[in-house]
C-alpha cells in the first residue's frame, strides 16, 4: 500500500507577537519557530502505522521554501521512505487552488493508494487543499477524519462533525483523506533516524517538471487574490486586571467574591 502524505511547514504563532510584513504580502517570519503543521503530523503517523501493518512506501511531499526540507527530513527520520519538495519561485503567493493544483500534478504522476493531508493548515487556515486535491486527482475524499480502518480496496473512516458526532463512511481507494488531530499518538524521531535522514536526498521539482505553465502556478494560477492584511480590530476586550501575579490575583479574587464565586 503506497501512501502520499502532504505536509506543510508553518510558523508557531500561538505565543508570538505576529507582525505584518512591510510589503503586506505576509507576516514577519524572523524569530518564529518553524514546525510541521499539527494535523499533518497526525497524518504522517497514520501513514506510518499503515505502512508498518501492510508494507509499502510512504512519500512525503511539500510545496514550500528551502527551510521546509527540515520538515521532510523529520518525516523521513520517523520512517517516511521518500520525500519530494515542489520548489520554484513560480509557486510563490499561490492560494489553496494553486497549491492543490501543483500537488495534484506531482501526485498524479505517482503510484498511490491513499493520499493523507492534514485537515487544516494552522497558518492560513484554508481547510481546502485536501478536498481540492482530491477533486483535481478525480478520486473520492473524506474530511476531518478521526478514525480510519483500511479494508479491501476501500477505507472506512469516521468523520468528526460538530459536537463530537461521528459520521462513518466507506470510500473506495485510491482516495484523499484529511486527518484531524487526536486520531493517534504521533511518535518522536529517534536520534539515529535523524542522523540517517540528514543524508537522504530530497527529490526537488520545479513547475516545468510538473508540466505546469508558470501562468498556472502560484499567484498567477490562483483563483482568489490577496488584497491586504490587517490586524483584527481591537474590540472592547476584557477588563485587564494588572499588576504582579499576586496583585492581579487579588483583584480577580475580589471580583469572584463580589459575584459570589469565591
Amino acid at each position: 500500500m503506497n501512501i502520499v502524505v502532504c505536509v506543510k511547514q508553518v510558523p508557531d504563532t500561538a505565543e508570538a507577537d505576529v507582525r505584518i510584513a512591510s510589503d503586506g504580502s505576509g507576516i514577519e517570519m524572523e524569530g518564529l519557530p518553524l514546525q510541521i503543521n499539527e494535523s499533518d503530523n497526525y497524518a504522517l503517523e497514520e501513514a506510518l502505522l499503515i505502512k508498518e501493518d501492510r508494507d509499502g512506501e510512504v512519500t512525503v511531499i511539500t510545496l514550500g521554501p528551502d527551510s521546509s526540507e527540515e520538515v521532510l527530513r523529520m518525516c523521513m527520520a520517523k520512517g517516511a521512505t521518500e520525500a519530494v519538495r515542489l520548489a520554484d519561485p513560480a509557486f510563490d503567493g499561490g492560494d489553496a487552488w494553486a497549491t492543490a493544483n501543483a500537488l495534484a500534478k506531482a501526485i498524479g504522476g505517482m503510484e498511490y493508494d491513499l493520499v493523507l493531508t492534514g485537515c487544516m493548515a494552522s497558518d492560513d487556515g484554508m481547510t481546502q487543499v485536501g478536498v481540492t486535491l482530491a477533486e483535481m486527482l478525480g478520486v473520492p475524499h473524506a474530511t476531518y477524519v478521526t478514525e480510519m480502518e483500511i479494508g479491501d480496496g476501500a477505507v472506512t473512516v469516521g468523520r468528526e462533525l460538530e459536537g463530537g458526532l461521528l459520521e462513518k463512511l466507506e470510500i473506495k481507494l485510491p482516495a484523499v483523506v484529511t486527518i484531524q488531530t487526536g486520531i493517534n499518538e504521533p511518535r518522536y524521531a529517534s536520534i539515529m533516524g535523524i542522523a540517517k535522514a540528514a543524508k537522504r536526498d530530497i527529490d526537488t521539482k520545479a513547475a516545468s517538471d510538473l508540466g505546469l505553465d508558470t501562468a498556472e502556478a502560484g499567484k498567477a494560477g490562483s483563483k482568489t487574490t490577496l488584497l491586504g492584511l490587517d490586524y483584527p480590530p481591537a474590540g472592547e476586550g476584557a477588563e485587564i486586571l494588572d499588576g504582579t501575579p499576586a496583585e492581579a490575583s487579588t483583584k480577580l479574587a475580589d471580583v469572584l467574591k463580589e459575584k459570589g464565586f469565591a
Binding site: D17, V18, G125, H141, E167, T225, K259, A262
Partner: protein, 324 residues
C-alpha cells in the same frame, strides 16, 4: 450583480444556526448590490424547513428527495453544481462546518470558481465582492478578492454573524434537478453519537478550562486544585484531549461540548474560534494568558496577562485566604 445563494444546512430535521446567520448577512450583501437572497435546500421530507427558510429568504429552492436522507458530498455536489449553473448567483454561501468544508472545495473545482473559506465578512465594494478571513489563529485578518469571477463561493464561519428575525414570506420553488444514486465510491454508513462520560461539564455552574499553555501533564493538579476550590469542573481545549491528558467529554468547542456556565475561566487557552464557539455564552468569562494579543481576551470579561504557573497558585492562595 446576481443573487446571493445560501445553502441551508440541516441535520435530523433541524436547520443549523449558521444557516440563519448566513441568511442575515446575505441580506446585507443583497441590499448593497440591489439583488435577492435565495436559499437552496436539499433534503428528504423537508417541507417545513422550506417554510421556515421562506421567512428569511426571497426565494427557497427545494429539492426534496430520498437521496438526501443523509448528507453525502458526492451526491450534493453534482446537484448543487447543476442548480448553481442554472441560476448563476454571484456568490454562494456555505457554512464553514464539517459539512461545508467537505463540500465547498469540490464544488469550486466542479464550477471552476474561486472559493474563500472561513470568511467572517463579505462586503460589496463597487462591483466587487471582498471577503475577510482570519489567519494565524485569529491574529491577522486577510482581505480576499475573487478576481472578478461570475460565480464565487465562500464558506462562512459559524457565529460570525447575528441571525435576524424576519417574516418575508419568500416563495418556495420545488426543483426537479436530477439526483444521482449514492455512488459506490462513497457510502454513508452511520452516525455515531459521542459516548457520555463520567462528568457532564455542561451541568456545572463553574468551568475551569485549561489549554495547551499548561505545557506538561504534571502541571494539571494546579488546575484541578483551583477547580475544587471554586466548586467547578475541569474542562479543556482540543490539544489537551489530543495529548491524552483529559477525556474527550471534557473538550469545549465546536467539535466538543457547548457550555453556558455562570463562570468560565480559560487558562492557557488562545481562544481560536473553534474553542470560543463552545463557551462564548458563559455569564462571566475570565482569561489567564501570557500573550496580551491572545484572541481569548476578546471573548473574556476579565483578563490577567501573565504566566499561569505563577498566576494560578497566587489566585488559589488568595481565594483560600478569602475563605479563611
Amino acid at each position: 450583480m446576481n443573487d446571493v445563494l445560501v445553502l441551508a444546512e440541516h441535520l435530523n430535521g433541524e436547520l443549523k444556526d449558521v444557516t440563519f446567520e448566513m441568511l442575515a448577512h446575505a441580506r446585507g450583501v443583497a441590499d448593497a448590490s440591489g439583488t435577492k437572497v435565495a436559499a437552496v435546500l436539499l433534503g428528504s421530507g423537508v417541507g417545513d424547513l422550506a417554510e421556515r427558510l421562506a421567512q428569511q429568504a426571497d426565494e427557497v429552492l427545494v429539492r426534496d428527495h430520498d437521496g438526501f436522507a443523509h448528507y453525502n458530498s458526492a451526491v450534493y455536489q453534482p446537484v448543487l453544481a447543476d442548480v448553481i449553473r442554472g441560476r448563476e448567483p454571484s456568490v454562494v454561501m456555505i457554512g464553514h462546518t464539517a459539512f461545508g468544508v467537505d463540500l465547498a472545495p469540490s464544488l469550486a473545482v466542479a464550477l471552476d470558481a474561486p472559493l474563500a473559506s472561513d470568511v467572517i465578512d463579505l462586503a460589496v465594494e463597487g462591483s466587487d465582492l471582498v471577503g475577510t478571513r482570519q489567519t494565524y489563529g485569529g491574529k491577522v485578518n486577510e482581505r480576499v478578492g475573487f478576481g472578478g469571477a461570475a460565480i464565487s463561493l465562500v464558506t462562512v464561519r459559524p457565529a460570525a454573524f447575528a441571525p435576524e428575525e424576519a417574516s418575508r414570506g419568500g416563495s418556495v420553488v420545488a426543483l426537479d434537478t436530477e439526483v444521482p444514486d449514492e455512488p459506490a465510491f462513497r457510502r454513508f454508513v452511520e452516525y455515531v453519537e459521542a459516548a457520555a462520560g463520567e462528568v457532564d461539564i455542561t451541568k456545572s455552574d463553574v468551568v475551569i478550562a485549561i489549554g495547551r499553555g499548561i505545557k506538561e501533564e504534571e502541571n494539571m493538579p494546579l488546575i484541578t486544585g483551583l477547580a475544587e476550590l471554586l466548586g467547578g469542573v475541569v474542562a479543556c481545549s482540543r490539544p489537551v484531549v489530543d495529548a491524552g491528558w483529559l477525556p474527550k467529554d471534557r473538550q469545549v468547542g465546536s467539535s466538543g461540548k457547548t457550555v453556558k456556565p455562570k463562570l468560565y475561566v480559560a487558562i492557557g487557552v488562545s481562544g481560536q474560534f473553534q474553542h470560543v464557539a463552545g463557551m462564548k455564552s458563559a455569564e462571566t468569562i475570565v482569561a489567564i494568558n501570557k500573550d496580551p494579543k491572545a484572541p481569548i481576551f476578546q471573548a473574556a470579561h476579565y483578563g490577567i496577562v501573565g504566566d499561569l504557573m505563577k498566576v494560578v497558585p497566587a489566585l488559589t492562595e488568595k481565594i483560600t485566604e478569602l475563605r479563611a
